[in-house]
Amino acid sequence: MDEKTPIIEVENLSKTFGLLPVLRSVNFGVARGETIVLLGQNGGGKSTLLRLLAGLSKPTAGLIRIGGWQMPKEAMEVRRQIGLVSHQSLLYGNLSARENLDFFGKLYGMAKDERAERIRVILDQVGLAKRADSLARDFSRGMQQRLSIARALLHQPEILLLDEPFTGLDQSAAERLEGLVMSAQREERTLIMTTHQLGRAPTLAGRALILSRGQIAFDGNIARMSAASLGELYAGLCGGATVA
């Protein structure tokens, strides 16, 4: 595929929950290898947008294309290309870290040897190699989060969607996560993440989308912005938000 064509295209996307409009006519495109942070208030539609991109939810109106395939109708074609880290862990508490990953590896059709090797590599990468055989329910929040990321990266997806990955992490866990994000960027994966922590946004991504009342209020480069000026911009668009 041509380098210039966007890997994700969103046109006039709307989503209504019950009778409540959550997204209203959202338009944007994402280039291959780009990293985007999604900012906005709670309930502003960030998680909904990620779920729509992952094909877990159907748009009320509008179009989503990933790698040229229409979501969610042709989702089966791109499922292998998408990894999602949700605000829930998506892990089985009664299975060990290795067993969790092994199960999802099977679902992605990986052969036995390939699975074992890939799980070893990824557990090492997220720093859980020593705890591979502990049950997921005994993990701390930070470790669960790392295991979730391992699960999302297991099948080496092109696109990684992260929903509030920094919530509930202490300083060292957050730094470790930042490192994981950077290495995913080096591997030229396309990243879309939501976060509350405005201060982190410019270090993580070149581009930000700010959602306000279900619409895109800002779409632009934030790489050279200071955290303070981003905070000002955000407060202006979303009203009265505190700068983290």
């Binding site: 209504t16 929950f17 019950g18 009778l19 409540l20 409009p21 159907k58 009320t60 009342r213």
Partner: protein
């Protein structure tokens, strides 16, 4: 925009589309047909020798079950078409089918109880057919409860289409239970009554003459007209709620 002008423009949007000609015609036909079958059942048909006047309730009792059958059948059709075409209109038909059918099923149960009081000397008995008819009504009450419990709009429509298809099994059970469970005391008018049936009467030409028009009315015109009206109301209700939300969120 001020709140008042907003409300005014909102009202214009939910203003009803004029009633289609076909629906007007259907409504009139149904009303006329209903009066006609009532006259047939109450005055034209002869009085039953054994049961007396109470037997006349049968001209409502049996047709109302078949009305429910028709309405629940339309729920299945609406459900299948919704799953296939994803057009909300079909889901509204399915919902209307459940409500209309439930009303018919309750009429069926009530008239049955009224008839049973003098004939069987009890309002209710745990006979297989009575039990399955009650369970049928409960199934569709469960449909309405389940529907109220699902928040996401598309998920609600999809799930309820699926449930509406499954719920029809309770209708089929009620319909066929006297064929497979012989120890019912409920009479069968068409075909041979079970051995234990109590309160059978003969399907004389007078009975048939009053029954057939009533059956046809309840099988076709009644459910179709009522479901059509009910789904139009549902559409307006949805429009009102959508506007409410818009005003609240703007």
């Amino acid at each position: 925009m001020t709140a008042k002008t907003k409300l005014l423009s909102a009202r214009q949007t939910v203003e009803a589309t004029p009633m289609p000609r076909a629906l007007q015609l259907l409504t009139i036909l149904t009303l006329v047909g209903f009066c006609f079958t009532l006259v047939l059942g109450l005055f034209v048909a002869g009085t039953d020798i054994q049961q007396g006047e109470i037997q006349r309730i049968f001209y409502i009792h049996m047709p109302s079950f078949f009305g429910a059958f028709s309405a629940f059948g339309l729920t299945v059709v609406g459900g299948i078409l919704y799953l296939w075409r994803k057009s909300e209109g079909w889901d509204r038909v399915a919902l209307a089918g459940v409500e209309v059918g439930l009303a018919f099923a309750l009429i069926n149960l009530a008239t049955g109880a009224i008839w049973a009081r003098p004939i069987w000397n009890t309002w209710w008995t745990w006979d297989p057919r009575l039990t399955s008819a009650a369970i049928m009504a409960l199934t569709y009450a469960a449909y309405l409860m389940l529907r109220a419990g699902i928040e996401d709009e598309t998920r609600k429509r999809t799930f309820m289409s699926v449930y509406g298809i499954f719920a029809f099994t309770s209708v089929l059970v009620t319909l066929f239970i006297i064929r497979v469970v012989p120890e019912t005391i409920h009479p069968v008018i068409v075909g041979a009554s079970p051995q234990n049936a109590q309160g059978s009467f003969e399907a004389t030409s007078g009975v048939v003459m009053a029954l057939v028009p009533s059956m046809l009315l309840w099988l076709t015109l009644m459910p179709i007209t009522l479901i059509w009206h009910r789904s139009r109301i549902e559409r307006r209700l949805e429009a009102v709620n959508r506007l409410k939300m818009r005003i609240l969120t703007e």
